[in-house]
Subunit: 425 residues, 2 copies
C-alpha cells in the first residue's frame, strides 16, 4: 500500500514534537490508518540551520515544493502567526490538500474564511491543538456532545498564568516572583504579555465559544483582562472566602446574546476547576443533556501539543482512506449576536481603602444603590486612625453599572483607593 505523505510547515517546539512522534509511532501507524505515514517535506526559514535528529533532505524553504507536490495529501501548519500561515492554508485547501493546524491566533480571527474554504473543497481542516493543547476538547464538543445545547464553557486555558497563580496561592509568591520563576522554567515567554494579559486565553475562548454555541465568535468579541494586578492581599482574602483566584475564560450563551470574556475570578475551592494546579489546563462545559463535564490536561508543550496535532492527522488519514474528507467542517450554523461586555452581569469582590470616619459606609452604599449595584456583604478590615479597608461583595450586577458606581466613588475624598476589582464565579 502507498505511504500517506504529509508536509510540516514549521519546525519549532510543536513541529519538532510532531516530527519525533511520527518517527516514534511509525510501527503503529499501519494499524491505525492502514498504511505508513511519512513526513516528506518540512518548510523552514533557514534550511542551513543544524537540526539534530531531522533528515536534512526533507527541509525546504520553498513553499512551491510542497503546494505543487501531488503526493502530499496532508499539510500540518505549526508555524503560528497570521501570515504566511493564512495564505498557505488557503492555498493548500484550494489545491485539494487537507490541513491540520495548531494556530489559535489565526483561527480566532480568520476561522470562518479557512473553514469555508475547507468546506468548499470538501477537505478537512482540523485544529484540536489550537484550544487547550493536548486536551481533547474540539472533537468531544463537535461529536460526543453534538446533541447538547451547550450554554456554558469555562476554561483555564493558559498554563503560564495558572502556574503563576498556583505559586501565589501555594507558596505565597508575589506576581513578579512567580512570573520570574515561570520564565526561568520556560513556561513564560521573554515577552509574557499575551499570556499575563489574557490575550492567548482570549483567542482560545473565541474558538471554543464558536464551537460550543454554533455561532462565530472572533477574538475582537472577547473582553480580556489579565492577572498583573492580583496581589498577595487578594490571595489572602480569597483564601478567607474559601476560594482561589483563576484566570478564567468564560463563555455563556444567553437569551440576549453570547457573552465571552477572559478575566481573573474568585472560584470556590470545591469547584472542579479550582483544583487545576500548576501549568495544567481544563475546560468545563455545561450542556442541557450531559449536565456538567470537564476536560483536564496539558495545555501546551512539545509533546502534549503534538499529541493533539497527530490525533488530527490520524483522523485525516482515516478520512482519506474512506474517501470522506470534509465530513465534519464548520459547525457555526447559527448567527447569534455578541453581547456588549458592558451588559454582562457579574458578581464582584471589591477591596477599597477608605477614611475611618462615621458615615463613610452609608455614602458608599448610597452610591452603589444609585447605580443599581446590590451589595451582598461588607466586611471592614484593618481599622486604623489613618483609614480602614473595606471588602465588599456584590450581587450579580451589570459591568457598566459597577463601572459608573466606581467612577463616582473614586472622586470621593473619603475613598482613598479602590485596590481590587475581581469578579466572582
Amino acid at each position: 500500500m502507498e505511504k500517506m505523505k504529509a508536509a510540516l510547515l514549521g519546525l519549532g517546539t510543536v513541529g519538532s514534537g510532531v516530527y519525533k512522534l511520527v518517527q516514534k509511532r511509525s510501527d503503529e501507524m499501519v494499524h491505525l490508518i492502514g498504511t505508513e505515514l511519512e513526513i516528506s517535506k518540512i518548510l523552514v526559514h533557514n534550511i542551513k540551520k543544524e537540526r539534530p535528529g531531522v533528515d536534512s533532505a526533507l527541509l525546504t524553504d520553498n513553499w512551491k515544493e510542497i503546494i505543487e507536490d501531488p503526493e502530499i495529501q496532508i499539510v500540518i501548519e505549526v508555524m503560528g502567526g497570521i501570515e504566511p500561515a493564512r495564505t498557505m492554508i488557503l492555498e493548500a485547501l484550494n489545491a485539494g490538500k487537507n490541513v491540520v493546524t495548531a494556530n489559535k491566533d489565526l483561527l480566532a480571527v480568520h476561522g470562518k474564511e479557512l473553514l469555508d474554504t475547507a468546506e468548499k473543497n470538501e477537505r478537512d481542516l482540523l485544529f484540536e491543538a489550537a484550544v487547550a493543547g493536548g486536551i481533547p476538547i474540539i472533537r468531544p464538543m463537535k461529536q460526543c456532545l453534538a446533541a447538547n445545547d451547550i450554554t456554558e464553557a469555562i476554561g483555564i486555558v493558559n498554563g503560564t498564568t495558572n502556574y503563576i497563580l498556583t505559586k501565589m496561592f501555594e507558596e505565597d509568591m508575589s506576581f513578579e516572583e512567580a512570573l520570574a520563576q515561570a520564565t526561568e522554567l520556560g513556561y513564560a515567554e521573554a515577552d509574557p504579555t499575551a499570556d499575563v494579559e489574557g490575550l492567548d486565553a482570549g483567542r482560545k475562548m473565541a474558538i471554543m465559544a464558536s464551537i460550543a454555541f454554533h455561532s462565530r465568535v472572533v477574538f475582537d468579541d472577547v473582553y480580556t483582562e489579565g492577572i498583573t494586578k492580583i496581589t498577595a492581599q487578594d490571595v489572602a482574602y480569597a483564601k478567607e472566602f474559601h476560594s482561589v483566584i483563576k484566570l478564567l475564560g468564560v463563555a455563556h450563551n444567553t437569551e440576549d446574546g453570547i457573552e465571552v470574556a477572559v478575566h481573573p475570578m474568585l472560584i470556590d475551592v470545591d469547584h472542579p476547576l479550582a483544583s487545576v494546579r500548576d501549568s495544567f489546563n481544563a475546560v468545563f462545559v455545561h450542556g442541557d443533556a450531559v449536565d456538567d463535564a470537564m476536560f483536564y490536561g496539558r495545555g501546551a508543550g512539545e509533546f502534549p501539543t503534538a499529541s493533539a496535532v497527530m490525533g488530527d492527522v490520524i483522523d485525516v488519514a482515516r478520512n482519506l482512506k474512506y474517501g470522506c474528507t470534509g465530513r465534519i467542517s464548520c459547525t457555526c450554523y447559527r448567527d447569534l449576536k455578541i453581547k456588549s461586555f458592558e451588559d454582562v452581569k457579574n458578581r464582584f469582590f471589591l477591596r477599597m481603602q477608605v477614611a475611618n470616619e462615621p458615615g463613610v459606609l452609608a455614602q458608599i452604599a448610597k452610591v452603589f444603590g444609585d447605580h443599581k449595584v446590590s451589595i451582598a456583604r461588607v466586611v471592614q478590615k484593618k481599622v486604623e486612625a489613618s483609614g480602614a479597608e473595606l471588602v465588599i461583595g456584590t450581587e450579580k450586577v451589570k459591568e457598566r453599572h459597577l463601572k459608573s458606581a466606581l467612577d463616582v466613588l473614586k472622586q470621593m475624598d473619603s475613598i482613598h483607593e479602590v485596590s481590587s476589582i475581581i469578579r466572582e464565579y
Copy 2:
C-alpha cells in the same frame, strides 16, 4: 432530502432519554447531519403499557419489523443485558444496519464478536455511553489520543459507590447509611450488588483497557473488590494521611502484561481524581505524548447517557451521509497478555488489632520480611491493656506476597484481627 430513520431497542431510562432528546433537537438535526432524524420504531416488551409522551404507533414487540425494515439504517440498543441484545446487534449488523449501544455488560464479554461483525459488514458499532455514561472518553481515546502509547487508565466509573464514599467522608455516614440514602435518591438499585461489589466498574474497565492498550480485555480478566468493608475508622485514617478513599478502576500496560482491577484505594487529596465528588465519574489517562489527561462528568442518568448515545447516532448519520460507515472499528491490534492479579504490585494500608505486649511488632515485621513485604511506616494507635491498633503502610509488594504474609499473621495469637486491607494509589 429523505429522513434518517433509526429504531430504538428498549424504552427504559436511557431509551426514554434518547427519545426525548431526538424530539428536543429535531430542529438542529438538519444542521448537524444534513437531514432530519426520526425514531421510526421502538422495540418494547409490552406494547400495551401506558407511555406518556411517546407516540404509541411507534411501539412494537416484534423484532422482525425492525430488522426487516430497509429504511432503518441505525439501531439504538438500550435494553441492556446479554440476550437478546447480542443476537439483535449481530443480526442488525449482518443486515447492513449501523448500531449504537450503551450496553457495557455485553461489550465487556462479547466485544470482539460484535466489533468483528461490524467490521466485516463495514458498519459502525459505536458505544460511547457504555463507559462513564455522558463523559466523552471512547472517541477521545480512539481519535484524539490515537498517537499516544497509553500506559495507565484510572477511573471513578461508578457513580453509586462514589456517592456513598463521598457521604462517608464528608458527612461521617456509615456505609449502610450512605447506601440507604443512595437507594432513596435512585442512585442505587434495589439490588446494589453490581455497584457496591465493583462489577459494574469492572465491566467498564474491561472496555476501557481494551481501547487504551489496543488489546482485548474481557470482564473475566478484571479483578474486582467492592467497598462494603470500608469503615468509619478507615475514613478517619485516610483523612489523617491526607487522602480520600475512592473505588478506582485501575488499568496499566506494563512490560509483563496488562493489569486491570477495581478496588477501593487511598488516593492523595491533591490528585485530580480525589476531588471527584458525589455521583460524578472521571477517567484519568496517562499517555507518553499527552502526559496526564482527565475526563470528568456524569457517568449515568437519563439525559447524560442519552447525550453520549446521541453523539454516536449523529456520528453514524454523518458517516452514512459521507458513505464511510465502519471508518473506525475495533482498535485492538495487539495481543497482550493479562497479568495474573497475584503478580500485580500495590502499596497497602493495613489496620490490625494486636496484643499489647513487647515483641509483637518484631514478630509482625519478621513475617512481612519473610514474605518479601517491605514496610514503609508503622503507627501504633489506641493503646489499651486489652490490645493496640497498628496501622501499617507497605511499599509496593506483589499481591500474593502480601496475601501469604497475612495468612501467617492471621494464625498468630498476638494478632487479634486484621481489620482493613486497602490499597494505596
